[in-house]
Symmetry: C2
Subunit: 331 residues, 2 copies
DNA sequence: GTGAAAGCGCTAACAA
DNA sequence: TTGTTAGCGCTTTCAC
């Protein structure tokens, strides 16, 4: 914005061609002769011309902007998602417009989103209500839910197999012989939390076990720390804790070691979920379930691009495999 | 995009007013009678009308989009910046369009950036060349360099006092009596790295000390780990290491403890820079220098908004205070 | 305060 | 292959 910017008409004048000739040279797949093209490019070069993407979008009906809605980046998992998704889309000529939801008014962003005429939306937040997804879908804007799903909405989704991941963790802990297994939940109504817990409980049940205790951390660092304190301050302690994501697991491990002076895994075992980079750091060395971010991002980008370019509206659902990553924090 | 969307003309027809009346209703500061306004709003409501931001931008010359250019989010510092900046701008009616630079072709994004007619740019990456800043400035697009500066460019900057921060760390380590103080540098030509090192070396010099050894980690996690290995594998070891940012410091601490079996701070002390949240985690408990993110974000947003709204082009430079945060990793 | 009309910079028919 | 023409949806004069 600012400065009297160079338009296609300016270029046309300098190159001695029509304005549409300029437009064509900058539109892939349009027919322009080599001589015209080079004249135009030369003129554009000297004037420093760049097509106005907004004007282009206005008429073409495609903005090449994808809205990404996120609640918070405290959990490193989501910043990785932002980076990868942005790169994947950029490689295909799209860009990411970021929308941070404000706690309590998650649906306020919907207005902003739609005003920008975005071509598609990725909702990467377990805390979002389904309203955004529904409104967008109703307007024919492709929606991909990342790391969650909504039962019967017109929205696509990319998740990992959270039920299976939870199940695998349970089997792992049971095989190690733990008897008092606790769970620290994330946001209670989030699909990730529900699925992980369901798989976990089922895995325990198959060995005749059940959750020994259960606390809620709401996917927050501080929330998890407090949940851990509640879990540990009674006389009888859990011998293993499944924390619903890695981000919370770090908080729990810190509380266990620093505040209660216990050792991991000697005194108590901890397992998490996500396999964020920090989980591999020796200071935590956390046994966890990998959410294959690259694979999930690739899937999300594929679905979105497919729908944006072919106006396909059949929602797709991809479920990536959940892989147990055994490190030193348990057993 | 998609679906035949509702336009202001549709609303006008339903409300029995002219299209311009609709426009005025949605333009703050335009004169519309209460009766017209309510008729328009009612019609807009029933049709689900939302002004097309792109069309508005085309004519008004302001897109209300701010470009944010970042190289990588591996370092948690930058994801925090993204979140806070995005929120700050959103509160003022702007949104962030994200551009990830590809290593080696950092100047390729410039084309994309300018096409989107953004109102301003924030460059939050120490690895960016100054070309983007210059091109944008030349076009009259306000630029704010975040966490770095360019000597005499037409770009504003927000940094913390990196020289002073380095200086404080040096004085701190010297006061603790360390004798063999090493430095693990970030990206060598980055202003943050140059300044931190300069201040650090100066601080040492005032006590007649100099860097005992120096390695380069390039602001990368793996780069830092390798630098640490080089530093530790010789017979004589440093007794303290200043690592140019926290992100690298974590890698260094992991190598010290896990690979060399040394204790921190008993055998070797480590200090970092940034004070990212993880620095406070008990597993690291890192003594570091705080970069006051909130303050810096506020400053960046202020500068940008001021320049975007008043078309001021005098570059501003804000330097936040660097505060030493003493924890347990040193001395 | 309101409507008619012009035009932001561009793409996409349509003829030529 | 080209130029001409008509808009995309909106803001903004300009008369009234």
């Amino acid at each position: 914005m600012a400065k009297p910017s160079v338009t296609s008409t300016d270029v046309a004048r300098l190159a001695n061609v029509s304005q549409s000739a300029v437009s064509r040279t900058f539109t892939s797949g349009a027919s322009v002769s080599d001589s015209t093209r080079s004249k135009v490019l030369a003129a554009a070069e000297t004037l420093g011309y760049r097509p106005n993407a907004l004007a282009r979008s206005l008429i073409s009906g495609r903005s090449h902007i994808v809205g990404l809605v996120v609640a918070y980046l405290e959990n490193h998992f989501y910043s990785i998602v932002i980076e990868r998704l942005s790169r994947a889309l950029q490689a295909r000529g799209y860009h990411v417009l970021l929308f941070m939801t404000e706690p309590g008014q998650q649906d306020k962003v919907i207005g902003d989103i739609l005003q920008y005429q975005i071509d598609g939306v990725v909702l990467a937040s377990v805390t979002l209500s389904s309203q955004i997804a529904e409104e967008c879908a109703a307007l024919g804007v492709p929606v991909v839910l990342f790391n969650r799903y909504i039962a019967d909405a017109q929205a696509s989704s990319v998740t990992s197999d959270n039920v299976d991941g939870g199940y695998k963790l349970a089997r792992f802990l049971v095989a190690k012989g733990f008897q008092r297994i606790a769970y620290i939940a994330g946001q209670e109504n989030a699909s990730t939390n529900l699925d992980r817990e369901q798989g976990f409980v089922q895995g325990l049940a198959e060995s005749g076990q059940r959750l020994w205790k259960r606390e809620v951390g709401d996917y927050l660092f501080e929330g998890a720390a407090e949940a851990a304190r509640r879990l540990l301050q009674s006389d009888e302690r859990p011998d293993a804790i499944f924390v619903a994501n890695d981000h919370m697991a770090f908080a729990v491990m810190d509380v266990i070691r620093s505040e209660f002076g216990l050792r991991i895994p000697a005194d108590i075992s901890v397992v998490g979920y996500d396999d964020v980079p920090e989980a591999a750091w020796p200071a935590y060395d956390l046994t966890t379930v990998e959410q294959p971010v690259d694979e999930m991002i690739t899937a999300a980008a594929e679905i979105l691009l497919e729908q944006m370019e072919h106006k396909v509206v059949n929602p797709a659902h991809r479920v990536a495999e959940a892989r147990l990553v055994v490190r030193g924090s348990a057993g």
